[in-house]
């Protein structure tokens, strides 16, 4: 009887313990069990590509393996393994030996354990990864010649198969190297922790830090997927216990308005100019005036986004961040505004003081000793005094309003980070001579992108467009998700005023004008040169260095492309510094090649007949039908 009672009590106690473990401590033990069996495998999304307007990749992501090692599986053979693997993973032998050397640490339970995770941070392509696995598989150690115990055999099997493991990842690549680097920007790896059920994983993700990579980072990045599953003793997934399996969603592809070929032409020509004139920097921008599309945007010196280096100054996109006094290219603003206000016509004359004018005790000079000049001739010859007198006629308030309307003093809204608005003080802050300085492009700071958009507005019949750099977003299958456009634009001057301004600008690339070197064989060019001194803080202007620029478009009456070429800090001692000498020839070379590539229809009469006449063997040149 007593035995039965004791047995009953024993069973009752046992049942109590079981209830305690299974009911009250359920969560705790579940967590312990999950930690041993549950694994979360993250699936990295593919970062979207950046494509040019023709679909050529400018930035792309290649599948690679991130390399990790488990020193606890290497035991005393880490040095031999390091020696075999180091050349394959671009490591110094000594460095890899240090990394793979097993170290002891005390875990949460107070036990000494060997480290089992070394992040080697090498992104190996498929071939390299294969070499690593093959090398490890073929490793033989002297001890293996003897008869081994089973545990020893298992050790060497694990060493060969599991001591190095790869995790799927992507490497960001810019196939064209430096091409359009300032537009594309660059990426940087950032570590973060991803917490899941019972599992926390450290991940490294790419983050755009500049250019389009930064501006559209959330669209490019994609969404990470994961698999929550169980693994067996050999770390193989037990598929039947797979809990969650979420596929990653790749980032969207960004299609730019940039044309890679035109971009290459522009950068090549600017690089030549950098060699010849040794300016501090050079900027070139090409737009389509009717749509505001940016066809090319180049900044030199540039950098290779594949290999960032340490000089962060090279990453500055001078086309949108650098403020310059533009010089005479700015005269288009005052003349177009006065024409719009009908204060002047192209035939109205101004006395240009024979090249030297004292206004309120301050001198204003022209390049030549000009007397009476029409408004048209003021543009042709680029008379500072003439432009100043037109500015005076316009008045401070109106001049300010028009300069603002042309987009100066505010960011253009280009989809790139870091754009500045330039500097256009309110008329209340002007001194009495400012009104004579702004018309010739001084006392006002602009960015190259503002200048080219203002010229594009004149080319576009007086309608100001916003710059468009991103054409569309596509999904991974190439289907368009979002299409971008700039909308109808804003009219800032009348169509007639724009046409008159174009008429004046067409006289610049002529023998009478300042930029004969910008004239093209097959197209009528309208444009304006600029040669500006560079402010030296409050100490006036730097001596002997200039901003030389040319901003123009073609065909003049049916503009397809608008180009802005600017060389900053051109040294007078290098042989030339006027915009017409330095920037205009670059314009010509770029425009010719870009027109060839884009098959822009010539607007000069008889150009085909000329070509026929000069054909040496009298055969007809090849006929090419444009779409």
């Amino acid at each position: 009887m007593l035995f039965t009672v004791l047995l009953g009590l024993g069973f009752l106690g046992l049942a109590g313990v079981l209830v305690h473990i299974h009911v009250r401590c359920h969560e705790h033990y579940k967590e312990v069990a999950d930690q041993h069996t549950l694994r979360m495998f993250l699936r990295e999304p593919r970062r979207g590509e950046i494509l040019d307007v023709q679909g050529h990749p400018l930035a792309t992501s290649f599948p690679v393996k991130r390399l990790f090692a488990d020193p606890s599986l290497l035991g005393p053979y880490y040095a031999e393994v390091a020696r075999a693997v180091a050349p394959l993973v671009d490591y110094q032998e000594g460095e890899l030996i240090q990394k793979l050397r097993p170290t002891l640490r005390t875990n949460a339970n107070g036990r000494l354990v060997t480290n089992s995770f070394v992040n080697l941070r090498r992104k190996l392509d498929a071939d390299q990864w294969q070499q690593v696995t093959q090398t490890l598989a073929s490793l033989r150690f002297p001890i293996e010649s003897a008869r081994l115990k089973r545990s020893q055999r298992d050790f060497f099997t694990n060493l060969r198969q599991q001591s190095f493991y790869g995790v799927d990842d992507y490497r960001r690549e810019y196939p064209s190297g430096k091409l359009a680097a300032h537009v594309l920007g660059c990426t940087q790896e950032k570590e973060s922790e991803v917490a899941g059920r019972a599992v926390t994983t450290t991940v490294t993700e790419l983050k755009g830090i500049d250019g389009i990579e930064n501006w559209l980072d959330p669209k490019l990045r994609g969404v990470r997927g994961w698999v929550l599953t169980e693994t067996d003793r050999r770390k193989r997934e037990v598929v039947m216990h797979r809990g969650q399996s979420i596929d990653p969603r790749p980032g969207l592809n960004v299609v730019l308005t940039i044309d890679m070929v035109v971009q290459n032409i522009l950068e090549t020509e600017l690089a030549e100019a950098m060699k010849t004139y040794a300016p501090e920097s050079a900027v070139g921008i090409i737009t389509r005036p009717r749509t505001g599309e940016i066809v090319a945007l180049a900044v030199l010196p540039n950098y290779d986004p594949n290999n960032l280096g340490t000089n962060t100054a090279l990453r500055r996109n001078r086309a949108i961040t650098d403020r310059i006094e533009p010089g005479s290219t700015f005269k288009i603003v005052v003349v177009a505004s006065a024409l719009h206000e009908k204060l002047v016509t192209l035939d109205d004359h101004f006395f240009c003081e024979n090249g030297h004018w004292m206004y309120l005790g301050r001198p204003l000079r022209d390049h030549g000793s000009y007397g009476d000049m029409s408004v048209l001739a003021i543009i042709t010859k680029s008379s500072n005094i003439g432009a100043a007198k037109i500015g005076l006629q316009l008045g401070e308030e109106k001049l300010y309003q028009y300069v603002r309307a042309f987009g100066f003093g505010q960011p253009t809204g280009i989809t790139l980070p870091g754009e500045v608005g330039g500097l256009l003080p309110s008329p209340k802050l002007w001194d009495r001579i400012t009104i004579t300085r702004i018309p010739m492009g001084h006392s006002v700071d602009v960015t190259p992108i503002q200048m080219v958009m203002a010229m594009s507005a004149i080319a576009n019949d007086g309608i100001m467009m916003k710059p468009l750099l991103v054409k569309s977003l596509q999904d991974a299958d190439g289907k368009t998700v979002t299409q971008f456009s700039t909308g109808p634009g804003t009219r800032i001057i009348s169509s007639q005023a724009a046409k008159d301004t174009v008429t004046a600008l067409k006289t610049v690339p002529t023998r009478e004008g300042t930029a004969i070197k910008a004239a093209l064989d097959f197209y009528t060019v309208a444009g304006k040169t600029g040669t500006a001194q560079i402010p030296d803080g409050n100490r006036g202007y730097l001596d002997g260095v200039y901003v030389s620029s040319f901003c123009g478009f073609f065909p003049a009456d049916n503009p397809e492309l608008c180009l802005y070429i600017m060389l900053n800090k051109v040294d007078r001692a290098k042989g030339g510094y006027y915009g017409g000498q330095v920037a205009a020839p670059i314009f010509k070379r770029v425009a010719e090649q870009a027109a060839q590539h884009l098959k822009i229809r010539p607007d000069k009469e008889g150009s085909y007949q000329d070509a026929l006449a000069t054909s040496t063997n009298g055969t007809t040149p090849p006929l090419v039908r444009t779409p």
Binding site: R236, N264, R601, T614, S615, V624, T626
Partner: protein, 136 residues
């Protein structure tokens, strides 16, 4: 008495024995079936995993090769190759192109478009000046 017990015990023991055997067979059979099924599920899981790996590798290869193809088709690379191989390929001059009227619109073909166009190359003309000489 003994005869009676003997006759009774023989009749009584057979039925429970059969029952016990059937029960054991049921339990054993279902156990073996369960284990077999589990093994089959595990094996199928391994096959799924292997096929997933294979599919992933194929996709990776596809991406790598698509990238390589895109790189080979880069305009700069093509131009460089044409130059290196000395093929005499140059872009046509504007004066060498003729714009034909668009038959559907009845006017001239539109010229201002950001529609992608294939760069054209023309072969150096034999026996005379190069096709890319600028006509004046």
């Amino acid at each position: 008495m003994a005869n009676k017990r003997k006759g009774q015990s023989g009749a009584v023991r057979l039925v429970p024995a059969i029952k016990a055997i059937v029960l054991c067979a049921l339990i054993g059979g279902s156990t073996v079936g369960y284990v077999l099924q589990k093994n089959q599920i595990f094996a199928l899981g391994q096959q799924i995993k292997a096929r997933e790996e294979k599919l992933k590798n194929l996709r990776t290869q596809n991406k790598i090769q698509a990238g390589q193809l895109a790189n080979l088709q880069l305009p700069q690379n093509l131009a460089e190759r044409a130059r290196t191989l000395n093929l005499g390929l140059v872009p046509p001059q504007p004066g060498q192109m003729v714009w034909l009227p668009d038959p559907t619109a009845g006017g001239t073909a539109p010229t201002n478009s950001s529609t992608p166009r294939t760069p054209l190359l023309v072969i150096q003309q034999p026996g005379g000046g190069r096709a890319n000489q600028t006509p004046r």
